[in-house]
C-alpha cells in the first residue's frame, strides 16, 4: 500500500511501471487515486451543470457563488459525519438503516435535556448546558449503536433486520419522547454548532485553520518521504512531491478564500452594531470544521490503527480475521457503537442548525448516508472503502439535492434523480473496479 495516510490500503493504486502516456506517468509518480479524480470530476460536472442550467434557464446562475457553496458545506456536514461511520459498517459487510432515526431520538433527547431539564438544575443559559447535552447525545447514540451491534454480533440477527427494526423503534421513541411536539429554541451556545448566526469562525479564524492544514499537508509529505528513505522504498520524484503539496495547499487556501468571500448578511451586521456596508466574512462554519475533524480522526483510525486494520481484514475475509485472533464480534459491536456516536454528533449539528428538535429530524438520512458511502467508493461486497470518499460522496449527494432545490425542481423529481444517480454511480463503480483489477 502507499504510505500516504489519506489512502486506505485496499484502493491504493499499484505502483505500476510508468507508462509512456504523460497523464499515466503523472498519476503513477504522484500516486494519486484515480477514483478520487473521478469523484472530483463528477462534482465539478454537477456544480457546473447546475450553474449553467440556472444561468440559461432561470437567467441566474446561483450555484457557483460563495453563498451557495458555503451553505452546501454546512448542509453536507451531518450526512458527511455519519457517512464516515457508515464506511466501517459497510466495509465489514453490514448495513445500518437506523441512523436517521437515531438522529431523531438523540436529537429529541438532547432537546428535552437542554430545554426542559438542565436549565432547571443550573439555570437558563448556564455555560455547561451545551457540553452536557452534547456528551449525553453522543453517549446515547453510542449506547443504542452498541445495542444494535450486540444483537448483530452476539445474537446472530442480520444487521439489515436489526437496524430496520431500529429505524422503526427509534423514530417511534423520538415521537413519544415529547408527545410529538417540537422543542425550540435550543441553548444559544448549542445553536452555534449548527452553523447558524454566529456559528462560524470568521476570516482570521479560517486563515488560521487553513495555515494549520497546509502545514499538516507539508508535514505528511515530508514525513512520508522520510519513512520511505529510512526503509529504502522507492521514492516519488521531487517534482511529484512538490506538485502534491501545491495541489493540497492550493485546495485548502482556495476553500479559505471561498468561505471568506461570503459576507455576513445585514441583519447580523446590525446586531453586531456594524454599518450595513461592512464586509465581515463568514469563514468556515463550525459544523464544517467538526466534519473535517471527524474526517481526519476517522482517517487516522482506519489507516493508522489496529482497529482500522481489523475493520478492513474483517471485510476482506471474516474467517481469516478470526483465525488471526481478531475478536470479530467485539469489533462489530464497537463499529456499531461508533456509528451510533457519530449519529449522535450529527444530531447535534442537525438540531442546532434548525434551532429546534423535532421528531422527524433525520428522516430518510439513512438513505443519503448509505448513498454517500457507496458513491464514495465503499464496496457493498465489503473490504473496500475510504473516509475521504464518503465525505466527497456526501458532498455529491448534497450538491445534487440543493442544486435541484436551487433551480426549482420539485421534491418528486429530486427523489427520482437521487435514486437514478445512486444506481448509476454503483454501476460505474463496478465498471471502474473491473477495469482496474
Amino acid at each position: 500500500m502507499t504510505k500516504t495516510p489519506l489512502t486506505a490500503p485496499p484502493v491504493a493504486p499499484a505502483q505500476a511501471g510508468a507508462g509512456g502516456n504523460p497523464v499515466k506517468r503523472f498519476l503513477s509518480a504522484t500516486e494519486i487515486d484515480t477514483r478520487l479524480l473521478g469523484m472530483l470530476a463528477a462534482l465539478l460536472l454537477i456544480w457546473g451543470g447546475f450553474h449553467l442550467y440556472g444561468a440559461i434557464v432561470n437567467g441566474n446562475g446561483a450555484f457557483l457563488t460563495p453563498r451557495n457553496l458555503w451553505n452546501l458545506s454546512v448542509q453536507t456536514s451531518s450526512i458527511g459525519i455519519m457517512a464516515t461511520g457508515m464506511v466501517l459498517v459497510i466495509i465489514t459487510r453490514n448495513i445500518d438503516l437506523s441512523v436517521g432515526s437515531l438522529i431523531g431520538v438523540t436529537g429529541m433527547t438532547m432537546g428535552i435535556l437542554q430545554v426542559d431539564i438542565l436549565p432547571q438544575i443550573f439555570g437558563l443559559g448556564h455555560w455547561s448546558i451545551w457540553i452536557i447535552t452534547c456528551v449525553a447525545g453522543i453517549a446515547l447514540g453510542a449506547l443504542i449503536g452498541a445495542f444494535h451491534g450486540w444483537l448483530i454480533a452476539y445474537r446472530g440477527i442480520p444487521s439489515f433486520i436489526v437496524t430496520l427494526g431500529g429505524l422503526m423503534v427509534w423514530r417511534g421513541m423520538a415521537f413519544i419522547a415529547n408527545g410529538g411536539k417540537t422543542i425550540s429554541p435550543v441553548d444559544s451556545t448549542f445553536a452555534l454548532l449548527g452553523g447558524g448566526p454566529g456559528g462560524n469562525v470568521g476570516a482570521t479564524g479560517s486563515w488560521i485553520v487553513g495555515l494549520i492544514a497546509c502545514a499538516g499537508v507539508v508535514w505528511l509529505l515530508v514525513n512520508g518521504r522520510r519513512q520511505r528513505i529510512k526503509h529504502e522504498f522507492p521514492l516519488r520524484p521531487i517534482w511529484a512531491e512538490v506538485t502534491l503539496g501545491a495541489i493540497g495547499c492550493g485546495a485548502i487556501i482556495g476553500s479559505v478564500l471561498l468561505m471568506n468571500a461570503y459576507p455576513l448578511p445585514r441583519g447580523i451586521l446590525r446586531q453586531m452594531d456594524l454599518p450595513d456596508d461592512a464586509f465581515v466574512s463568514h469563514g468556515f462554519a463550525i459544523p464544517v470544521l467538526i466534519m473535517i475533524a471527524v474526517g481526519i480522526a476517522m482517517t487516522i483510525l482506519m489507516t493508522r490503527t489496529r482497529f482500522g486494520r481489523y475493520v478492513f481484514a474483517i471485510g476482506g475475509n471474516p474467517e481469516a480475521a478470526a483465525l488471526a485472533g481478531i475478536n470479530t464480534r467485539w469489533m462489530t459491536l464497537k463499529i456499531f457503537a461508533l456509528m451510533g456516536a457519530l449519529s449522535g454528533l450529527a444530531a447535534i449539528i442537525a438540531s442546532a442548525r434548525l434551532n429546534s428538535a423535532t421528531n422527524a429530524l433525520g428522516t430518510l438520512d439513512e438513505l443519503y448516508v448509505i448513498a454517500a458511502a457507496v458513491i464514495g467508493g465503499t464496496s457493498l461486497a465489503g473490504g473496500v472503502g475510504t473516509i475521504y470518499g464518503a465525505i466527497l460522496g456526501a458532498l455529491v449527494m448534497q450538491s445534487l439535492q440543493s442544486g435541484m432545490v436551487l433551480i426549482g425542481f420539485d421534491a418528486a423529481i429530486q427523489r427520482i434523480v437521487v435514486g437514478v444517480v445512486l444506481v448509476l454511480a454503483v454501476y460505474l463503480d463496478n465498471l471502474y473496479r473491473a477495469r482496474t483489477k
Partner: protein, 253 residues
C-alpha cells in the same frame, strides 16, 4: 529418529468434535516431537483439517485434551494457540484478500510505533526481508493479495507462519496451489525448519512427498485414526492401503 523418547511437543489425546450429528473427528490421539514431521493423511472429508483446527484454536473440541510440552493446554481461540507458539498455514490460506502482503503477515500482531499507530513501513520492510528468504522472486508488496498468483499467496501464508518463531507448525496442504519448483522450495523449507527443531504437522496428499519429508504418518478415515506408522518401516503401498481400505499394516500402531 523414529523412536521418540521424552516429552512430546504436542499431544492431542482422544479428541472428538462433531458438527450437527456428523462425527468429523472421533476419538483421535496424535503427538509430535521436536524436530519431527508428522504427516496427516486420508481422503477428503477424513477429518484432517478439523483435527488440526482444534489445535490451532479455530474450532473447539467437544472432548479430549491437548498437552504442550507435557502440560495441559487450554486452547479456546487462535490467540491462545499463537501464545503456545503454534502457527498454522490453513488449507484456505486464510488471507484477507483486500490487504497487502505485509498487512496479512502481521494481521493480529501488527508492529506499532511508539505512539501506538501501525507501523506500515516497518512491517513492509520485515516482509521484504522474510520474503527474500522464502520466495526471492516475490515483488508485489504494495498490492492486495487478491492480485497475487496462487503460489505467491501461498508464500505469504507460509511467511506468516514462519516469521513469528513457531515451535509447532501446522501445514494443511501447503503445496496444493504450487508448481513443481515452488513445491520443491516448500520441501526444502520444511527440512530446514525441522533441523531447527520445530515440530511440524503436515497434511499432504502426495504420497511421495510424505515418504520424503515425514518421520511418521497418521492415517485418518471417516473421522477416526486408522493407524500411525514410522515412514521408514513401511512402503508407500502400505500407506495407500491404510488410506484407501483402512487396512492397518503389521508395523502400524
Amino acid at each position: 529418529m523414529t523412536m521418540n523418547k521424552g516429552t512430546p511437543l504436542v499431544e492431542m489425546r482422544d479428541i472428538s468434535i462433531s458438527f450437527g450429528g456428523i462425527k468429523a473427528v472421533d476419538h483421535v490421539s496424535i503427538d509430535l516431537h521436536p524436530g519431527e514431521v508428522v504427516g496427516l493423511l486420508g481422503h477428503n472429508g477424513a477429518g484432517k483439517s478439523t483435527l488440526i483446527k482444534c489445535l490451532s484454536g479455530a474450532y473447539q473440541k467437544d472432548t479430549g485434551e491437548i498437552y504442550v510440552n507435557g502440560e495441559r493446554a487450554e486452547i479456546n481461540n487462535p490467540r491462545d494457540a499463537r501464545n503456545y507458539n503454534i502457527e498454522t498455514i490453513y488449507q484456505t490460506l486464510a488471507l484477507a484478500d483486500n490487504l497487502d502482503a505485509a498487512s496479512n503477515l502481521f494481521l493480529g500482531r501488527e508492529l506499532v510505533t511508539a505512539a501506538g499507530f501501525v507501523d506500515d513501513a516497518q512491517m513492509e520492510a520485515e516482509t521484504r526481508k522474510i520474503m527474500a528468504r522464502l520466495n526471492p522472486n516475490f515483488r508485489k508488496f504494495n498490492v492486495p493479495v487478491s492480485a497475487l498468483s496462487g503460489g505467491q499467496r501461498q508464500s505469504v501464508a507460509i511467511a506468516r507462519a514462519v516469521y513469528f518463531n513457531a515451535k509447532i507448525l501446522i501445514m494443511d496442504e501447503p503445496t496444493a496451489a504450487l508448481g513443481p519448483q515452488e513445491t520443491q522450495m516448500v520441501a526444502e523449507l520444511i527440512q530446514e525448519l525441522k533441523r531447527q527443531g520445530l515440530g511440524i504437522f503436515l497434511i499432504e496428499h502426495d504420497i511421495h512427498a510424505v515418504m520424503d519429508l515425514c518421520d511418521r504418518a497418521v492415517v485418518m478415515k471417516n473421522g477416526q485414526r486408522v493407524g500411525t506408522v514410522n515412514v521408514d518401516e513401511v512402503t508407500d503401498d502400505d500407506i495407500l492401503g491404510m488410506i484407501i481400505m483402512g487396512k492397518k499394516p503389521a508395523k502400524a500402531y
